[in-house]
């Protein structure tokens, strides 16, 4: 006698619950993710880390003063208007200063001395000008007088 083959039962996995879960997770992460603006670095170093056993080149140092109104002075000369964020005159002078220091084989160093009420934006404008002039040794005068820390 010829037996009739039974139809093979298809082994199917029901994907619906998994897809439901994945959609829920997706919606959760989409809602909870907040996109922040990309932040960038503008760095400086405080003095006082040199090892005393090593010989240290005495840097060619210039002090930039920033007044409460945003006026910027280098060697008692005022550079750029307080509203000028790009500070082209200061950048030009700082590039010359760096080139002179390099010619003398000494590191160029800038100390920024802002007054107490100067806004952070103006301080960052000056740091930005130092970066534009490719001066890496930048520090701050933050003592009670004008002494550096």
């Amino acid at each position: 006698m010829k037996l009739k083959h039974k139809d093979n039962v298809k082994a199917e996995v029901d994907m619906t619950p998994m897809i439901d879960c994945v959609f829920l997770l997706l919606v959760f992460f989409m809602v909870s993710t907040t996109f922040n603006r990309q932040e960038a670095d503008i760095s400086f170093a405080l003095p006082g880390t040199a090892d005393q056993a090593e010989s240290v080149d005495i840097p060619d140092e210039q002090i930039i003063q920033i007044t409460e109104n945003g006026n910027v002075f280098l060697n008692d000369l005022e550079y750029d208007a307080p509203a000028d964020a790009d500070m082209p005159e200061l950048v030009k002078t700082l590039i010359l200063f760096r080139q002179t220091a390099e010619a003398n084989r000494v590191p160029a160093m800038i100390t920024i001395a802002p007054e107490d009420n100067v806004k952070q934006q103006r301080v960052v404008d000056v740091l930005n000008a130092c970066t534009a002039a490719k001066i890496a040794n930048v520090t701050f005068a933050v003592g009670s007088g004008d002494e550096e820390i």
């Binding site: 990309q38 960038a40 952070q120």
Partner: protein, 154 residues
């Protein structure tokens, strides 16, 4: 005569590409959510510095937030006495020295990332810089945006 009906072809939709896309999106948002765990206080509006550089490796940093005075925070609002925000907690200069010193024990190459509001006054920033120096950290970074309308990133 009885005619045999031909089998109707099943109208199956292939779900595979959709599931692939959904998984890709899921992984993207999961990674984004993990990356934004850094202490970024939203009240701080950073200054603009077109020459600022996007960091390649932002690890090994301690974050100090300096918001405008009077900004609400956990346990009060920022004031002249407690102007610094570290992980949402108000702190003063000695507190800042303590926090940095403790972190320095586990991370000797610690750098301090100062997120200072563009309208904050330098006298407050000066105190934070002094606290860093007292704690023994000399490598300090100011946070800035590269442009007014810089978008993207997480």
């Amino acid at each position: 005569m009885k005619l045999k009906k031909p089998d109707e072809p099943e109208a199956n939709v292939d779900m595979t590409p959709m599931i692939d896309c959904v998984f890709q999106l899921l992984i993207f948002f999961m990674v984004c959510a993990t990356m934004s765990k850094v202490d970024l206080t939203p009240e701080v509006t950073l200054p603009i510095a077109p020459r600022a550089a996007i960091p390649e490796n932002p690890s090994g940093r301690g974050v100090i937030n300096i918001v405008p005075l009077g900004t609400p925070a956990a346990g009060g609002a920022t004031s002249e006495d407690q102007p610094f925000l570290v992980y949402g907690q108000l702190t003063d200069e000695p507190g800042l020295v303590k926090v940095i010193s403790e972190r320095l024990k586990t991370e000797p190459n610690l750098r301090i990332y100062m997120r200072v509001d563009h309208n904050a006054e330098f006298k407050v920033v000066k105190r934070a810089i002094r606290a860093c120096a007292n704690a023994g950290v000399f490598d300090i970074i100011f946070g800035a945006f590269q442009s007014e309308s810089a978008g993207g990133g997480t």
